[in-house]
């Protein structure tokens, strides 16, 4: 694919540390949020008068509200351990994409305003004002972080750049400089109930179509219920699962699992979105407001438990944050959300599901650990359940399964390059370059092990990889969902 005006990284050395290239990705800019969108979410419509001071004041406020931010501003020794761990640094060589480099963009301002050394010895300590140049760096490089937490795995103090990026975006929003993509998505959730802006009639007709489709293909009456009162399970899934490919194949998989297990379930048209972009912009109130739709529906429908679909950051929010944001879920029998992989795996362990694994014999499957699942959540009881459970499901449904190398697997996995609110067209160059490390690992698996299917459980990973892999001459069909493979192989009863 040579239609783009940027250089596609070579996959040969995409996992090696590149030389530092100053300003290499400084030209990659986000589209600013238009004034009416900013106002709709309660932010100033445009850069406010005296934003320099207001931004510093906001930083001062946030450091007293977030222990993470205060400590991560102060305890870094700049050992450099993180420097070559970010996929965007590996893909671009831009020193501001070294995690420590990105953090320093905020630390400069922090030191100048909140430390004695920075105030007294500005240049020596690398302290600087919040000015035009600083804001330009912020609006550029805090939108070149996908909040994947890979850097913090290698940090002796667990400094998590995601926390700093979230704070930076919150500060920018608060002075009137927002990113169109994330704010647009959030506005749609408030208006319609999901990121894609799908209204109920379109949702219902899609699900009816899927019912007919599955009936035709399998002869089974697999249902896709919406707003069904009295259902045992409320299914919350990223809205991409309703319309995007390959996402929808996993959605069919969820429905088949419910069907085969004979468990009553329903989607909700009011809470038809699992994703929570409030996290990406670091805004607690938005994150809470988005999660509230789900809590409300769960109570209104009187379900016994919530099962959630294949989405990485949303699983982090559900697993780690829901209870704090909008809990407790006292009306539920199972008070915490259950990941669909946990659910399916439990059924498999109990012998409640049967598979014809040969249905997947056309695939040699590997698994891509998605960041937020790997490094910010868990599944099941074991501390490594988030790694093992999806793999167990895959092995139950497929005969040919192979592992990625350790250096890019489990908690060391690389981001797909599109997470954290960066899955937007104006950042395509960044997304292609940021995908290089994981793509290089995939390419090696394809060449050496004959892999032709990389399964994953994140809607953003799926959308990102299907879009960027063709730049590397890899067909988008190698991207799939875990429940897509479950769907292929599951044997449906007559229930």
């Amino acid at each position: 694919m040579a239609k783009e005006k940027f250089e596609i990284p070579s996959l040969e050395d995409a996992l090696d540390t590149p030389p530092v290239r100053k300003g290499a990705s400084g030209h990659l800019k986000i589209h600013p949020a238009p004034p009416q969108m900013m106002e709709k979410l309660g932010f100033p419509p445009a850069l406010v008068e005296g934003w320099q001071k207001k931004a510093v004041d906001k930083l001062g406020e946030l450091k007293e509200k977030y222990k993470s931010l205060k400590m991560f501003m102060e305890v870094c020794v700049k050992c450099g351990s993180c420097a070559d761990k970010c996929h965007y640094f590996l893909g671009t060589g831009d020193p501001n994409n070294m995690p420590v480099g990105r953090q320093e963009l905020m630390r400069k301002v922090y030191r100048k305003n909140f430390t004695a050394g920075g105030a007294l010895f500005g240049g020596f300590a690398r302290a600087g004002d919040m000015d035009e140049a600083a804001l330009k760096d912020w609006t550029t490089y805090f939108y070149q972080c996908s909040q994947c937490r890979r850097c913090s795995v290698f940090c002796p103090f667990g400094i998590d750049t995601a926390e700093i990026t979230m704070a930076a975006r919150e500060i920018m929003d608060s002075v009137g400089a927002g990113h169109k993509y994330s704010l647009e998505v959030i506005a749609k959730v408030h208006d319609v109930g999901n990121n894609l802006g799908i209204p109920k009639p379109a949702l219902s007709s899609t699900l009816e179509f899927l019912e007919e489709d599955v009936k035709e293909a399998t002869g089974a009456d697999v249902k896709f219920p919406v707003d069904a009162e009295g259902a045992e399970v409320l299914m919350i899934t990223p809205s991409a699962d309703f319309f995007s490919s390959p996402h929808v194949d996993s959605l069919v998989g969820y429905a088949k699992v419910f069907h085969a297990a004979g468990i009553s379930w329903t989607f909700s048209s009011y809470a038809s979105e699992f994703a929570n972009f409030g996290m990406f912009i670091g805004n607690y109130a938005q994150m809470k407001k988005i999660a509230e739709r789900i809590a409300t529906v769960a109570r209104d429908l009187g379900v016994k438990r919530i099962i959630v679909g294949e989405c990485g950051h949303a699983w982090r929010v559900a697993y780690g944050f829901w209870d704090t944001l909008v809990g407790p879920f006292d009306t539920l029998e199972v008070k915490r959300p259950v990941h669909v992989c946990e659910f399916t795996n439990d059924l498999i362990k109990r012998g409640a599901l049967k598979f014809d694994k040969t249905a997947n014999d056309g695939f040699t499957v590997t698994y891509h650990d998605s960041c937020n699942v790997a490094r910010a959540s868990r599944m099941g009881e074991s501390p490594e359940g988030q790694f093992d459970i999806p793999r167990e499901v895959l092995k139950a449904a497929c005969n040919k399964y192979v592992e990625m190398p350790d250096s890019v697997n489990r908690e060391k996995t690389f981001c797909c390059g599109g997470g954290g609110g960066l899955l937007t067209d104006e950042l395509m160059e960044l997304r292609v370059k940021g995908a290089a490390p994981k793509t290089a690992a995939l390419k090696r698996m394809m060449d050496e092990k004959g892999v032709n299917m990389m399964a994953m459980i994140c809607a953003i990973c799926k959308a990102q990889f299907t879009k960027v892999l063709p730049y590397y001459d890899i067909p988008m069909e190698v991207v799939g969902g875990v429940h897509q493979l479950v769907s292929n192989a599951i044997i449906l009863g007559d229930k």
Binding site: T17, K63, K65, Y66, K67, S68, K70, M71, E74, V75, C76, V77, K78, C79, G80, S81, C82, A83, K85, P95, M98, V100, G101, T115, A116, G117, F121, G123, F124, A125, R126, R149, S152, V153, F154, C155, P156, F157, G158, I159, D160, E163, Y284, K288, Y319, G320, F321, D323, T324, L325, R336, A374, R375, A376, R378, P383, E384, Q386, F387, E411
Partner: protein
């Protein structure tokens, strides 16, 4: 008491107050700042005991740095290990009588402690030589290393170059500790060494050297992965 002794007594007490007070101020400040959400870096144990055990291992091995950059680990681990022996070597100046195990390990502690300049020079060179590290290093980063290097060299000079009267130094230090200051030994190399240590004491709590305490309070590494079982309330979250 001489003017010099008065000066050193005064500045020593000021240094002690700033160092211990500053440390307490910073660490208590960290501990009291809220964590609105649970953000453990997973996989992470679900119990506090599990987290503590993991943290002991991480701290004793510098595990994350080992996984992140072996060559920096060599310098960083080496530096901290040597500093432990430097500390042991200096304890005899603050304890009277010196307990027997401490007395016995002195020759060994000297042997290791004397290596202090090596990791410091290595880490400084590494900052200057590798393009990524050159990029991130500020004057303050070199200053911390240089200060420790000067302290180390001046200290070693007391042992090997300008022989200092250890008994006199110990009397001075014990006098300070027991709040009955005596005359400061007027040995130029000692005064240089001691002055630099005071600078470190003033600088430590308000610089990146606070990482020593910060490592114990970091939310990502010290929170348990217990979200499904333990309700976490955000103190400013509203309900």
């Amino acid at each position: 008491m001489s003017a010099l002794s008065l000066f050193y007594a005064g500045i020593s007490y000021a240094g002690a107050v700033v160092f211990f007070g500053g440390l307490a101020y910073k660490l208590i400040g960290y501990a009291l700042t809220p964590s609105p959400l649970k953000i453990p870096l997973t996989p992470q144990p679900a119990s506090a005991a599990g987290v503590a055990w993991k943290a002991v291992g991480s701290i004793l091995s510098f595990r994350a740095l080992w996984n992140g950059d072996r060559w920096t680990w060599v310098g960083g681990y080496g530096l901290h290990l040597v500093l432990v022996f430097v500390f042991i070597r200096h304890l005899r100046l603050f304890l009277s009588p010196v307990p027997w195990p401490l007395a016995d390990v002195q020759p060994f502690a000297l042997l290791i402690g004397a290596l202090l300049p090596l990791p410091l020079v290595y880490l400084m060179a590494r900052r200057a030589a590798v393009d990524r590290y050159r990029q991130i290093s500020s004057g303050a980063d070199y200053f911390a290393l240089a200060l420790l290097l000067l302290i180390g060299l001046s200290g070693l000079s007391l042992k090997f170059l300008f022989h200092a009267d250890v008994v006199g130094i110990k009397e001075f230090l014990l006098g300070l500790m027991l709040l009955s200051p005596v005359e400061v030994p007027e040995h130029p190399a000692f005064l240089v060494h001691f002055s630099l240590v005071l600078v470190l004491g003033f600088y430590f709590p308000f610089s990146k050297l606070i990482h020593a305490g910060g490592v114990l309070l970091s939310p990502t590494t010290m929170q348990a992965d217990d979200a499904p079982d333990v309700r976490h309330v955000n103190p400013w979250g509203g309900q």
